[in-house]
Each structure stands twice: as structure tokens, then as C-alpha cells.
Symmetry: C2
């Protein structure tokens, strides 16, 4: 049984971010990323791959109209994951099977920013999209443009590969965000109607199916929390319980019998409550694990909670890049085996780190243990932020830890590794996912239960909670927390894993990585989190990193770029006996550059070298100065 | 113009191998590999993948008979590279498009051994195969069972992807070997008839095509040398000259227009005489380069010779594994870019190293430079020998330099890396290729021109050449060469690149890596090639090997195996200040084993370690003790 009370995150409206680091990033997303993504979704960015997303909604509307008017509707195949202008009829659906979700994610992000303050230009853009979406919905609530346009009779017949339930999930998340911002309930009603159809279709007596790409479960829990409609919670629970049961639903759907091994990709090889290891497609994985944590909380399901803890521990102890990236292989965009974390072949999709943040946040609510917020912070400051360019209009999908531009061009094993951020992707899940995460950063800073306010992330600003308010400011590495509460309570401040030394100007006790401070009505607490640049080693169970070291400061991972250190970064070696220097946002280390060998093979002798200063820049800033070599790990002596 | 006279290798009959190292290997191939491969080709090995090779010849015979009798012949598709029992009709062709070549390679190997001494059991096995092959040939000389069985009307319509010309090449090589052994000319006549059809089909006025997988050119030169028929030489020259010309023949054949980039795979992106770099499928590459060297010699074509030298230099200076392996990527079984030589993802196909030996041998005939024989030796003692198990009935196709069995099973990027040798392969090019190479080892030891006998490889035995005879024996690292010549001549003995110290008991001058010794009628020369175990470094331009070292003795590369050194070989480090010890065929080094880190990430500090002795075994012997970790390179301090 639970020995501690669950906590809950604050709503976006209850938190105001005012942070010297984050203000610029939030502003960049609001002022640059959102308008840019609006253009991209509307197929108006020169030189970027086309989205076709809005076009599909308009086509679906017109097909619906024809159907209602009793006019004949042409059918097209629903046999691919991606429908391009080359392989499909121009009147048919275009894009990936999950193309609808791109606009949902954008709307969700817009909703978050509108919760902060209204913006009529943005609202009117959103309005046009919302209208297009609602117009595309069928009378029975069904809403997935691929099947509406191409062949509605095949709806819900390929849950394994297609993404109707995934698109529903993003629709619901967008709808809630927009509704909370503007009270505009058009999208929310559309989501409820689709949810009702799903509840009716997928239940004990009917289709015993579940989504090939998880997210519907998370979304159903959110709709339940908003509406109190238990059918949504039950359907989420049903999908989690059915997943991986034998006979496999995906076998039944495809008329074959397998041992389920292939369904590791979808985390559908065994029931979630029996899963102990993170496997398969990384984004799908963390979306499922997040929903499992949601249900563990809502249903006080200790079996699911236990599975979540095992999986969490597997990820953070054996499958996590130093940058918070997950998914070590491009094959299936998936988790690899324990300790297989290659730098130059990494997948580490931006979306996967975002999903890891969802999972971490939910685990924090289930259990107070600093590790959850530590990992969340690691992902946030590194792989998530690296997903976006400094000017906000180019994006990384994949976040490698070592890049040689020539390899990306000439070695097909590394063609997923882009040496510079792209304007857009035909499969554009990451950019709007990033926008919705940054737009909802407020949710990840605090959680609260009946007696304690937990400060998880050191992002300055103000927060209102049910029994008080709090202000966090900082000067350098010194934080000041002003708190006022209507009752006696505790403030629990995370002591980050990267912090070896800290000072708090009051009495506290440390438990599970948090400093607990008793609060009587009000207090002003100063907290100094010493933040020296430091060398970090990766376990020598990870083959790729033996003999190497990484440089970090606080949660930020640094890297070497060719622009600062010249070509052939592998010829550099860091001298661990010399101090690191932090200056102007960069870290400088002393080291050597080996002379290049002329012969491919020669008798061993120590190489000639020249001493040099190694300049490290934050990982999230890499690739903003054109194509160049980059690496996180450097040899050490 | 050439400043030096070409040399030529000796015929198999003129060389007798009697060498303490090689006798066992030659015997293993003759007594175990050949009979085993006979069983495999006849589909009689339990648990091994089926060959279907002989079955196809029998089917082709029966189709021919039906055709001659005017009976209807059913057609089957010729649209795949591999025809399995699952995807094709049981009466149709089965196996890979190049399946015929497996029996040809086996026959070629048999022919070489029969040239050494007759063996009636082996001859009768060969006879059955030869009969099946000859019976399958069509009246016009055409002989490729895929098209004969499935659809003869499509013959020679997909040179890019299918392997009719490749199978012809292997047929010709087999035919010559068998003919030289037994004077049985059935196969040779079949080869001449097919060659005549090819010369007729592919010539200036007709199909301006060439083979997608090269070898026909090499074979045509051999047939020309045997028969003196200039048509064969001209067709070989034609194919080399047409290759890569624009418009691309492969474009014409497939009715499309491309920039030819995709034809780098087939080395058909530009004309061979303009090629400077080794690209594309590694086996195809070295087979082409070998033919280019043949033509450079036959036609005194300096342009081709120059291209050969550029390509050679590109391979050996930038694309060669320390083991003599080539082909750094599984994608296209191909050369990667310069200095991209990953250990754990290597392809390094056994066949590719065999082809590199063909190329090296031909370059030695064109130009006296020890590098050719050095590289030949490197490939021979490492990647070629590693292709075969100690008991002669299991084989490697791929020869990685680092293996973690778990990765081969769980990481699809490494599924081509097998941690133990396989009984057989559905695509079984390597095992019989190895047999034909070992069977013809005699060809690679010496070359001779009008004034000089070149000793390239230190494989003991006897040799007859046109103006004398020679005997090579050894005791430890001390070689004794007894030579008798009918005229004044020179003996040129290669000083191997691995030999820093040598003693010769007579006057000599060193040129291009060979010690030239004047011979008047007869001489007895002793030569000591000091062979200390040594540490070798790989250029630091190769990212995979920085901070690491390999261990060699003579041409033999050594490796660490888990069986001797425990799991987690990456935690070992070699102490370069301590001497290496050679004992019982193994090399022992002093070093340390790091304690395993418990945390995935932690503040840098030097790890605790224990001192240990590292035991290295010859690379070619690895994987003979069950599944285990292996690595060639080890960290050094």
C-alpha cells in the first residue's frame, strides 16, 4: 500500500514563468515557432516538405458533404503509412497516417500560450483550423481524415499500424488546452463525441483492441478528469489491460498467429502490468508508461505502479543518454538492449524525450523521489531544447551525441542523423510536440498535495496553489523562495543530482532527494545550488564511452563543435588534472590535439601532440553555425 | 611507359606446398570442407539452409527436354533476387539468382586439388555435377538455370540485378580448373559455348551491356589466355569500356533516366578508367579491379593501370581493416567513405578479402612493389582464414572486429554479425570461394619474369619455373631457399612490412620492398625474418580506434576472446610499457581490468582496477569455442 500521499501538478494558469533563461525560449516558441509552424501546416514554407494536414481536413469535409447528399464517394487504398503525391491520387488523403495529429499538437500549444494571455491574431488562426477540424467530423463522432477520405468502411480495422486512436488522443489534448484558454468548446465537444464513439466501439463485449501507437489512454484519462465521465477512465483501463493479452489482438486483426515478439515494437508483447523493461518504439513506450502511471494514480493500481517503477528504473539506469535522449536505434525508432548507447547512431528522438518528461512528471506525482525530476530536467535542458534552432524555425528530429557530416551524407546507416536542423519534416511530429511542451512548462515546476508544496524545477516565477502562493527568483546560482501559506505546511525543494554542495538558510531535512522545510504562514528562503562545471563519466558497461568523459554544468550537457575546435574531434584529449573554466556560457578545458597519423597502420608509439584549449558549448546550441562535426564525449587522460 | 617487365604467377602444377602451417589447412579444405560442401550443395546437411543448386540444374535439363520435344513450358516470374519455398512455385527456380555459381566454385576448388593429385571419389562426385550442368545448357550455349527454368524470353534483360554473366564467369573458372586437372573438357566446352553466345550478344553493334556483378571480364581473359581466342579478350575489354558510359546501360535496361549515383553499387557510375576510389559492393569492386588489372596487362593499357593504382591506394590507405577485410557497411555490402572502419558494424565479407587477393596478385604482376603481397598476406592470414571453422564445417560470411553476442541477437543493426560460424548459408558464396582460394594457394607464392623469380609469400614447398627450380623450407622464423637456375637470374624476396629486422646470408639490394639476390646457377640462401609480437596502432583518422591498439605477430592479427579474458572486454586496458610474450600460439600482455561502474552517470574519477594478463589468440581462430565476446582493438595506456 502507498505510504505517501500522491501529489498533483499545478494548472498552467496558476503558474507564471519569469526566468532569465526560459523567458527567451518561451518567447521564441510563441513568437517564432508557432507562427512558423502555422505556415508549415498551411504548406506555405518555401523549400520545406509539405504537410497537407489542413488540406486533408478540407477534403474530409467535402467527402462528408457528398456522403450526406447521397452522392457517390470514391474509395482509395488505406494500405500505406505514408501517402505521397507520387504514390496516390490527388483527391485522396496525403501525408502520414498520423498527419491529423500535427495540427492538434499545434493547437494544443496555442491553447497553452492563450491560457497565459490572449492573442487575437493567434486565436483567429486557431479558429480557422478548429473550424476545418470540426467540419471534417462525421455524424457518429468519427474523426480521422485518412479513413474519412479514403475508405470509411475500413475504419478501426488496422489499429496496429494506423493511427486513428493516436489522432484522437492528440485531438483530446488540443481540445482541453483550447477550452481552458478560451472556453471555446467546439473542439472539446468534437473530442467528447469521438471519445464516446471509441468507448462504444472498444469495450468488453465489442472490439477488444487498443492503439498501435499509444496516447489514447493518456487522453481518455484527461477527458475523464475534465468531465468526470467514468466511461473514459474505464476505456483507458480496458485498453491498458487488453494490451498484450493472448490471443494478441493484432494477430486477430491481421488474421495470423504469432508469438508476439514483433509486438515489442508496440509494447504489446505482454500485458503492461507484467512489463519490466522499456522496449520497442521509444515514443510509443513512454506514452504508454505515462498512461500506466496515470491509471496507477487514478485507480490506486499498485501492480501498474510497480511495473512503472521497474520500467523507469530500466530506462534511467540502462537506456538513457546523458542528454536525456532515449531510443538508441533507428530501427523501429526504438530502445536497444541494456547499455547499448552508441553516440553516432543514436536516434534519441525529440518526441521521445518529451514523452519521457510526461512519464517523469507522472512518476513524481505517484512517488516523491528526486530522480524523476532529475531526469525530467536532464531531458528538458538537453535533448528537448536541442530540437529547436536558435532562430526558432528549424528542428531536429534525431539528437545524436556525435556527428560527422560526411557520415550523414555517405553512410546510409547514419542517414537519420542530420548535421543541421531541418525546416520541416513530412513526418513532423517533433516540432509541434516541442511547442506544446514549452507552452506547458508551468505544469512541470511544482506539484502539491494536502500538506506539501514540491519545487521540482528551478524555473523562476510565481505560483498559486490551493492553500498559498510562492515566488521563486534567482541571482546567479542563488535562489530566493518567498512563500505564503494559509496553513502550516511543508516546502520540499529538490536537491538536484548535479549539485554536490548547497546552502539553505533555514532548518531542513533531506528525504528522497528533497529538502523539506516547515512553513508557518510565510517564509523567505535562500538556497544556493553550487554549479561548477564538471567532468562526468558514463558507466564502462557502455562500450561507446570507455576512456571518454563528458562535460556538464548543472543539468546542461556540453559538447565540442568543429567551429570552435577544428576538424577531427576524435584527435582531441582532455586533461582531467586541469581545472575547467566557465565563461560566457561556454566551458574551457585544457587538453591536447594529437598529430594525425599518415599511415593507416603502424607500429605503436605515442603520438606527437600539441597542447590546446578545448571549448565546449551547451549541447542544445549545437548545429546552429552550419554543418560541422560535434561530439559530447571526448577522450580523457 | 612501363619501366619494368610484367611477371606472371606459376601454374598450380608447378608448385608443391609443404608447409607446417598450411599443410593442415589445405588438408582440412580437401578432406573436410570439400566433402561437406558437396553434401550442402546436395541439400543433405541436417539443420543447414538448403542450396537447391543441383536441383535447379536438374529442373533446367527437364525444361530443355520439354522445349525440344515441343511440349508447353510454364513460365514463372523472374522478379526477385531470392526465390524461396515460401514465395515461389515448387517447379520453379529456387535459391538466389546466382545460385548456379555455388557449384561452379566448388568444382573450381575440386579442380585445383585434382591438379595436385587425382582422387577418384572426388572425381566421381564432380562428374555427377558436371553432367548435371552440361545437361542444363541450351543448344545456343545459354546456361543460367533461373532463366532457363522460369522464363527464357527474359534472358539478358536485367543485367543490373541478375547474375547470368556472373554465373558464366564462375562456370569458366571452374571449367578451366577441371580441364587442367583431368583434361575432361565437357565443362570447358560448355564455357566456350556460353562465352561465344555472350561475345555474340554483347558487342559494339548489339547489346552495349555489362554485368551487374562483375567477374565475366576476369573469366573472359582467362578463356582468352587458354584458347587464344581474341573475341574473348575483346568482349572483356568492351565490357570494361562500356561500364559507366552515359547514357547508362542500366538506365536503358530499366527504362529510366538517373544521374547514375545508384550505380556506384555496381561500380558503373563512371567508366573504370576514370575511377579513383573503391566504391559500392566490395566483392563486385575487387572483381572489377582485378579484371581491370588483367586488361592493363594484356593490352598494356596504362590508363587502366593508373586507375588500378589509384583504387588500390584508396583501399589500402583508407578502406582496409587491419585484418585485410574490406567493406565497412552492411548496406550494399559495400565500401564506406575514407577512414570509416567501424569494428562492431563491419561487413568485411570473406569473399571480398578473397577478391582483394585476386586484385593484389594481379597488381604484383603489373608492378613489383611489396605492398601488394603485404596486403595479400594480411587478407590471407586473417579475414580469409577466419572464414572457416577449425573443424572445416562452419563458415563466416561477415568478419567483424568486435562482437557482443547479445548485440547480434537484439540489435538489428548488427544482425549480419554472427557470433559463431554457420553451417551453411542460403547465400553461400563465401564457403566455396574460400575452398577455391585455398585450393589454388600455389598461384600466390611466386611470380616470374624473364630474369627474376619473385618470392612473395613465405609458404614452404617447391616450385618449378621455366628456367629453374626452387625449394623453400623453414625452421622457426629462419627460411632456407635452395635455388637452381639454368641461367643467371635474380631472386627477389619480399621483406614483409611487419618485419623490422631480417638477416640474409648473402649479398642483396633492397628495391620496392624486395631483397634482390643475384643467382648464378645455384644458391642456398638463409633468411631470418624476425617475428616479435608487436603493438600496432590504427590511424587516428579512424574514429573507432582512437586510444586503442591491436596486437600482431608477423602477418597474423590477434584478438581477445571472452573465453580467455571474461566478459566486458571493453573494461580491459593494455599496458604498453610491459613486454608482450608469445607462447603456444598465443600472445600475453600485461594490463588492467577496470571495476564495473554501478551508476550509468557519475562524477568523473579514475576507476578502481585489478591488474591482469590479457591473452590474445589469432583472429582467424576466434569463435571456435562457442558464442562469446571478441575484440581486436583494446584500449592502451
Amino acid at each position: 500500500m502507498h505510504t505517501q500521499e500522491f501529489s498533483s501538478h499545478l494548472q498552467i494558469r496558476d503558474v507564471i514563468i519569469d526566468d532569465p533563461f526560459w523567458n527567451e525560449i518561451v518567447k521564441r516558441v510563441r513568437q517564432k515557432v508557432l507562427p512558423y509552424q502555422y505556415q508549415a501546416l498551411s504548406d506555405c514554407v518555401d523549400g520545406a516538405e509539405k504537410s497537407h494536414c489542413i488540406e486533408n481536413f478540407l477534403k474530409a469535409k467535402s467527402v462528408n458533404a457528398r456522403r450526406k447528399a447521397g452522392l457517390p464517394v470514391k474509395k482509395y487504398p488505406v494500405d500505406k503509412w505514408q501517402y505521397t503525391e507520387e504514390n496516390t491520387d490527388e483527391n485522396a488523403f496525403l501525408g502520414w497516417v498520423f498527419q491529423d495529429s500535427d495540427v492538434y499538437k499545434w493547437l494544443e500549444a496555442v491553447g497553452y500560450f492563450l491560457q497565459e494571455y490572449r492573442d487575437s491574431a493567434l486565436e483567429s488562426k486557431a479558429d480557422a483550423f478548429i473550424r476545418a477540424i470540426c467540419d471534417a467530423q462525421m455524424d457518429n463522432g468519427y474523426l480521422d481524415t485518412l479513413y474519412i477520405i479514403n475508405d470509411i468502411d475500413k475504419a478501426f480495422t488496422n489499429l496496429r499500424d494506423h493511427h486513428e486512436l493516436y489522432c484522437f488522443g492528440h485531438l483530446a489534448e488540443a481540445a482541453l488546452s483550447i477550452y481552458r484558454a478560451t472556453k471555446d468548446d467546439r473542439l472539446l465537444n468534437a473530442a467528447y463525441r469521438f471519445a464516446d464513439l471509441i468507448c462504444e466501439t472498444f469495450c468488453h463485449s465489442k472490439k477488444r483492441g487498443y492503439d498501435g501507437h499509444e496516447i489514447a489512454e493518456m487522453a481518455l484519462v484527461k477527458l475523464y478528469r475534465e468531465s468526470g465521465n467514468l466511461a473514459y477512465l474505464h476505456t483507458a483501463k480496458f485498453m491498458i489491460e487488453e494490451r498484450g493479452k493472448q490471443p494478441y489482438y493484432f494477430d486477430i486483426e491481421h488474421g495470423k498467429h504469432t508469438d508476439g515478439t514483433a509486438y515489442r515494437y508496440n509494447q504489446a508483447h505482454c500485458q503492461p502490468k507484467h512489463q519490466k523493461e522499456a522496449v520497442g518504439h521509444a515514443v510509443r513506450g513512454v506514452y504508454l508508461y505515462s498512461a500506466m502511471a496515470d491509471l496507477a494514480k487514478e485507480c490506486k493500481d499498485t501492480e501498474l505502479e510497480c511495473a512503472c517503477k521497474s520500467i523507469w528504473s530500466n530506462i534511467v539506469n540502462k537506456k538513457l543518454y546523458i542528454t536525456g535522449g532515449i531510443g538508441a536505434t533507428v530501427h523501429g525508432e526504438a530502445f536497444s538492449f541494456d547499455y547499448d548507447l552508441p553516440n553516432d547512431l543514436a536516434y534519441a528522438e525529440t518526441c521521445a524525450s518529451i514523452g519521457l518528461i510526461f512519464f517523469a512528471q507522472r512518476m513524481s506525482e505517484l512517488e516523491i523521489r528526486a530522480n524523476y525530476a532529475d531526469v525530467l530536467e536532464r531531458a528538458l535542458y538537453n535533448t528537448v531544447l536541442s530540437g529547436m534552432s536558435a532562430d526558432g524555425n528549424a528542428f531536429f528530429y534525431v539528437n545524436p551525441l556525435e556527428v560527422l557530416p560526411q557520415a550523414s551524407k555517405e553512410d546510409s546507416r547514419k542517414q537519420h542523423i542530420r548535421p543541421v536542423r531541418q525546416k520541416w519534416f513530412s513526418c513532423a511530429c517533433c516540432p509541434p510536440n516541442l511547442a506544446r511542451l514549452i507552452g506547458s512548462l508551468q505544469k512541470y515546476i511544482y506539484t502539491v498535495n494536502s500538506s506539501t508544496v514540491f519545487l521540482h524545477q528551478f524555473i523562476c516565477g510565481k505560483a498559486d496553489f490551493s492553500y498559498g502562493e510562492l515566488q521563486l527568483t534567482k541571482q546567479g546560482t542563488q535562489f530566493c523562495i518567498k512563500i505564503r501559506a494559509q496553513k502550516e505546511c511543508a516546502l520540499a525543494v529538490r536537491i538536484p543530482e548535479w549539485c554536490n554542495n548547497f546552502d539553505i538558510n533555514c532548518k531542513y531535512t533531506v528525504k528522497n532527494g528533497y529538502a523539506f522545510i516547515e512553513i508557518r504562514h510565510s517564509a523567505e528562503i535562500t538556497l544556493d545550488l553550487h554549479m561548477q562545471p564538471r567532468l562526468v563519466k558514463c558507466s564502462n558497461r557502455v562500450r561507446a564511452n570507455v576512456g571518454k568523459v563528458a562535460v556538464m554544468r548543472g543539468p546542461v550537457v556540453y559538447c565540442l563543435e568543429e567551429a570552435d575546435n577544428g576538424k577531427d574531434l576524435q584527435m582531441l584529449k582532455l586533461d582531467s588534472t586541469q581545472p575547467l573554466e566557465y565563461r560566457d556560457g561556454c566551458i574551457y578545458a585544457q587538453g591536447i590535439r594529437e598529430k594525425a597519423d599518415e599511415s593507416l597502420y603502424s607500429t605503436y608509439s605515442e603520438r606527437a601532440f600539441t597542447k590546446c584549449t578545448l571549448k565546449f558549448v551547451p549541447y542544445y546550441t549545437w548545429g546552429n553555425r552550419g554543418e560541422n562535426e560535434m561530439c559530447v564525449y571526448v577522450r580523457v587522460e
